[in-house]
Assembly symmetry: C2
Homo-oligomer: 512 residues x 2
């Protein structure tokens, strides 16, 4: 194309009346007003109620029900975005410790703006050359954190559920005959079985359900008093299943559990998996990045023996959702599980290996957002030392939480703190006295009352907007649970939260 | 908590040395430099090469291999982002028509910045009150576009592959006994079967593989000369399978196909599915939003009878990746497929129905990005009329493409244009003459040569950076394929692309 014909094209382009391109002024109106909202949000998140004082009904009424035929002015939309923020739960608040959610950083959020403007669809090198390379690079960095070498490889997923599903799929296909993909699981008389502790994340049975393996074929291995998988019980169950004609193919270890942060004995599980020729998957969606804390590294000894590891940078690397990840120790072993089936319309016509690379050879998703950019920029902006420091400090905060709980007359610690989770409950002082004199039946009844009281406390605290805890069920008891993956949390926040809980308890008991 | 203790907390907070919070100046440095990159990108994307002149090797060398312990200055990172942009394929370029990818809009990209700053994890109302409401609202808007009523419901997914997987899972569970989730597919002698045309997207057999149903249990129904599913062949195959003891449970219709944009006879398939009690899924990942073009609406007649429809706003609603969506006609019927299994740690303790709502009752993902925000803002910013106009014009552009092809001596149209895809090939004038005189064998040989030439042309054009086409295999022939979901494309771009192809063909033939 000559310069002059190119010019002609440019001129004609201005004529497409349906183009969604906008003027420079309109662009500035968007970019400036959004930047202002975002800046204010980062500056003020600590002052907002953690949870809004609202109801589903009230929120619905705030926003237009019908889509209008004509456009709306940006000022109106920005005003509505302010309302959205007002009616949100703020995971970036220093006293937010529910589930596993972390604050995002400015660099992470702005990385997502670049990703969305550039709008790469990271399916393959051909479709997104630089983005593919950067995702591969980030996978190498994350892999090296857990001790994987250059044979490892991985891909980003929308989160831990998808990473675990993907891992179980690959585990099953590698451990069974190639025809399963074609023929399905019908007519196979011996079910193949997976092993995981009673603390396993529910995405593992869910994955077994989705894959057609069946939830009951995830065998639940008991855990010890520290909520770690019991090796003896694992061995017993595998041996019994083998005797009974089942085909064990995979063991899933937690690093750490979503309830208490317990890390299973990875080294021992690795040896056992090797001995029995089982696929060894580590679900480190929440906890594997705890390996960045120097003091915690020993807990993860053996993780590099795993065939696959899931870990979520949107959980403990402070990346904005979504940002999950699945790593494989030996990429070559994995590729065949998915390959061979790609369609003609996406067939890759490149000659060089690196340029034929496609993520669909490793996972379920075809379209994939440029998720790696935010990790790449964030890790480089802060440097690994500062990020490790934040993770280490989260662990210290949870430890401090446990110390305060144990030093109090009216709180009881319900699990050891292994990473950054503290599980405890509120026990009114007179209950503690009654406990001492109680027989088994009375204890059971007291425990039930405490379950109810603590569930009520959790709800009251959540809705009060000053702090946010979630819960765990530990040995059938209701625990308040603080999961600290939050670089804004300080000791003072923890102190005041214990007061907030006491205040909630007082209110609840007054009402009765 | 009193005001004074709150103040005390604030003061202590400043003391957490590991916090990743940054100063106002540092924030501005990020926000201003990113805004500048993004603005320039939107302004200049039409002038960039569609595909970079590069290699995997060259890209690797451009970026640091090791993660540094200390942070890097923002200027350096921004410089690297410029390099990333330089080494990207530009789906927003007016002559980009590969696969199914669309440009993003400024409002869509900035919506993603807000989503990532706010960092909602849209698992449930409790975790993201406003975001949940907005996703439900957007689902209603998209549902109403295809004629669904208020009983419908849906959820956003990372893309079409996940939406189709989710749809097939639900279809299977609704059509089989509840114990499948627990027991798996083992020991069931009669495989359950799915039906789809030979134009089906490869995510459907892939989903059958993942679900343990087996790829061969997706029965491939022949398509007619317009690449639409042949109803007679569908009926024959279902009847034969029933006779042979298989259990048909689902039919998947395309709207439209990824190869040519053909829309299957939805009304007839809907009637057949009802008659046979089959789940009726429509894969509209690429094409269902074509229903927004008034002239195309008739093609989609019957789509509202579907039990489920996948459609991707990141394909034809110009939303940045990722943004897929799965809609169900009757939400109540679906919920049971996933429910009952949620773990205690995410158990919802709300009393009001709307506040107990959780997306994990409808899909595979647990963590979910606030994907709906970009659609909500984008649809409101432009208004439905302008967006429909852009979609209508994309269809006109494909029609124009076909007209130009048919008016040329050296191009051949290989499929009717139904939505916004044009499939064609380059046929040198002397080949056309040879064809006329050729017998069957000679024709086959000529066709093979043309396949090879057009594959070569595609690669040359892609790497040339002036336009980007991909390919389709149609009745075993290699087709160049332009999928226009691009609001920047004009007639002039199409004219010049035919010249670019001719030029590539000349070069290739000269080299031989």
């Amino acid at each position: 194309m000559t310069d002059s014909s190119n010019k002609e094209v440019e001129e004609k382009r201005a004529a497409r009346p349906s183009s969604l391109d906008i003027s420079e002024d309109e662009f500035h109106a968007i970019s400036e007003s959004v930047a202002e909202i975002v800046e204010k949000y980062f500056a003020r998140v600590a002052e907002l109620p953690v949870f809004p004082d609202t109801s589903a009904e009230e929120i619905s009424e705030k926003f237009p029900e019908k889509l209008s035929e004509d456009g709306e002015p940006i000022e109106k939309l920005i005003e509505d975005c302010r309302r959205v923020i007002e009616k949100s739960r703020h995971n970036g608040h220093p006293r937010f410790w529910g589930y596993v959610a972390s604050p995002s950083t400015p660099i992470g959020a702005y990385a997502d703006l670049i990703a969305s403007a550039l709008n790469q669809n990271v399916t393959s090198w051909r479709s997104a050359p630089a983005a593919t390379m950067i995702e591969q690079q980030v996978m190498r960095w994350l892999g090296s954190l857990i001790g994987y070498d250059e044979n490892a490889h991985g891909l980003m997923t929308s989160g831990g559920s998808l990473a675990n599903l993907n891992a179980l799929y690959v585990a099953h296909r590698v451990k069974s005959s190639g025809e399963v993909s074609h023929k399905g699981l019908w007519n196979r008389s011996a079910p193949m079985t997976v092993y995981a502790s009673d603390q396993v994340h529910f995405s593992i049975p869910k994955a077994a359900d989705v894959l057609g393996l069946g939830r009951e074929n995830v065998r639940i291995v008991s855990s010890d008093e520290r909520f770690k998988l019991d090796m003896r019980n694992l061995r017993e169950q595998v041996e019994r299943d083998e005797r009974e004609g089942f085909i064990p193919f995979c063991v899933v270890a937690n690093a750490g559990t979503v309830n208490t942060g317990a890390v299973d004995p990875l080294e021992e599980i690795g040896s056992f998996a090797q001995e029995r020729d089982l696929w060894f998957h580590v679900d480190g969606a929440y906890g594997a990045l705890g390996a960045l804390a120097h003091e915690k590294r020993a807990l993860f000894h053996g993780i590099a023996r795993a065939d696959s590891v899931s870990l979520d940078p949107h959980k403990w690397l402070y990346a904005p959702v979504d940002c999950g990840c699945l790593l494989f120790r030996d990429a070559a072993r994995v590729q065949g599980a998915w390959t061979q089936h790609a369609a003609d319309y996406i067939k890759v016509y490149e000659e060089r290996d690196a340029e034929s690379f496609a993520f669909w050879d490793y996972g379920i998703e075809l379209s994939r957002r440029f998720r790696a950019l935010k990790i790449w920029l964030m890790l480089r902006y802060y440097g690994s030392r500062k990020v490790s420091g934040a993770i280490t400090d989260d662990c210290c905060m949870a430890q401090y939480f446990a110390e305060r709980v144990e030093a109090s007359e009216d709180f009881e610690l319900l699990a050891p703190v292994e990473l950054s989770i503290c599980c405890f409950r509120y026990v009114p002082v007179e209950f503690a006295r009654e406990f001492q004199a109680a027989n088994d039946e009375e204890r059971a009844s007291l425990n039930e009352k405490l379950d109810e009281l603590n569930a009520h406390i959790m709800h009251t605290v959540q809705r009060g907007g000053l702090a946010y805890l979630s819960n765990a069920t530990l040995r059938a008891r209701f625990a308040l649970r603080a999961c600290i993956t939050n670089f804004r949390t300080t000791r003072a926040d923890i102190d005041s939260t214990l007061e907030i809980i006491r205040e909630a308890a007082r209110e609840i008991r007054k009402e009765r």
